[in-house]
Amino acid sequence: MKKLLTVLAIMTFLFSATVFPAPATKKPPQKGEGLPVINLPVPKNLDEKTYLGLSGSGFFKIPQIKASAVIVEIFSMYCPYCQKDAPGVNELYRLVENNPDIRNKIKIIGIGAGNSSYEVEVFKKTYNVPFPLFPDKDFTIHKAFGEVRTPYFMVVKINEDGTHQIVHTQLGGYPGAEPFLELVLKASGLK
């Protein structure tokens, strides 16, 4: 009986390994949780640095961005959906920037999973992306985010005391700038 159970256990394990995709090294961060600790380089571009409200050089963490909510998009220059959604995400940036009530409260950044600086620049130039994009050539950040598929959107609420939590995550399914802004406003308590 014991032998049978062992064999069954192995069979189940084998079956699950065959049928289900390989597990990521970590689970993607969930709503209500904090972000994994990742360091991004302070942009050299002065406009981008000002946009994020950062000073100095070196590295920063996402909750240090001067905002009440940060939208993080994990994208790839090689991902067709990210390409297709790019104009819509740019539109979201414009909606925010053109609204004096929220322009200092919501910021957007993109992280190019597996993309070199050159590749991120190609994406930025192709779609005239107006917000800061960061390369993640060796997938370090992508791994910290649980190896999510792309595009992956996260809304991070930053509290006045400097604490933060993820208030929304979404794989693909970008609904367009206006509905997404509405979602961001509600999720982050700005509305």
Binding site: K2, T6, I10, F13, L14, A17, P21, A22, P23, T25, S76, M77, Y78, C79, P80, Y81, C82, Q83, K84, A113, G114, S116, Y118, E119, V122, F123, T126, K137, F139, H142, K143, E147, V148, R149, T150, P151, L171, G172
Partner: protein, 201 residues
């Protein structure tokens, strides 16, 4: 008896753990959803090049998804050519190599270069697969029959019948100027190819 079997089970579980833990960081786009076949980590290179930089590029004519036949010779004296062989449709790294080239058309144009994508898959498979990538601006050619003949002539056909992930840059005179037989498990960085094209100027 139980004691004897125990290490055996551990080794099976251990082996499986290695198998399922291999990072699959490519083919990430949600566009493919569950349709990418996970190949696992493969032997980085499994063929022997039959051409080298400076050689005239072996001639070929292959059918494209569009229905036309494309010959390497038709670009002679007119355009530089990049041949991008990728191993197979519906596999992780390949599925997110060409979509990147698809938004780099301006850069290829800037270097007066055409891109030809080639795999050993048949036309219907290539049609379905590349449809997921959006409208590709470059021809996609099928080296299916005789199987992998062009890949074989260049020396990039692997022992299991798929090609290497390889980039050839061929100048307007028809000579090979750059070869990158890349680790099949990784995507070649775009900047490496572009700096090779820069040198043709």
């Amino acid at each position: 008896m139980e004691k004897k079997r125990f290490p055996h089970i551990i080794s099976i579980i251990g082996a499986l753990f290695v198998f399922v833990s291999v990072p699959m960081a490519f083919g990430l786009s949600d566009v493919y959803k569950g349709n990418i076949y996970q190949t696992g980590t493969l032997k980085p290179m499994d063929s022997k090049l039959k051409v080298k930089v400076g050689d005239p590029a072996p001639h070929f004519t292959l059918p494209a998804i569009s229905g036309e036949k494309i010959s390497l010779g038709q670009y002679r004296g007119k355009k530089n050519v990049v041949l991008s062989f990728v191993p197979a449709a519906w596999t992780p790294v390949c599925s997110d190599q060409w979509p990147g080239y698809n938004i780099a058309k301006d850069i290829f144009n800037q270097y007066d270069t055409v891109l030809l994508g080639i795999t050993v898959d048949n036309i219907p498979t290539l049609f379905a697969w590349t449809n997921q990538m959006g409208q590709l601006w470059f021809p996609v050619l099928s080296d299916f029959w005789p199987h992998g003949a062009v890949a074989k002539r260049y020396g990039v056909l692997r022992s299991d019948g798929v090609s290497e992930r390889v980039l050839f840059v061929i100048d307007k005179k028809g000579f090979i100027r750059y070869i990158d037989v890349h680790d099949i498990n990784k995507r070649p960085p775009l900047e490496d190819l572009m700096s090779a094209l820069e040198k043709l100027k």
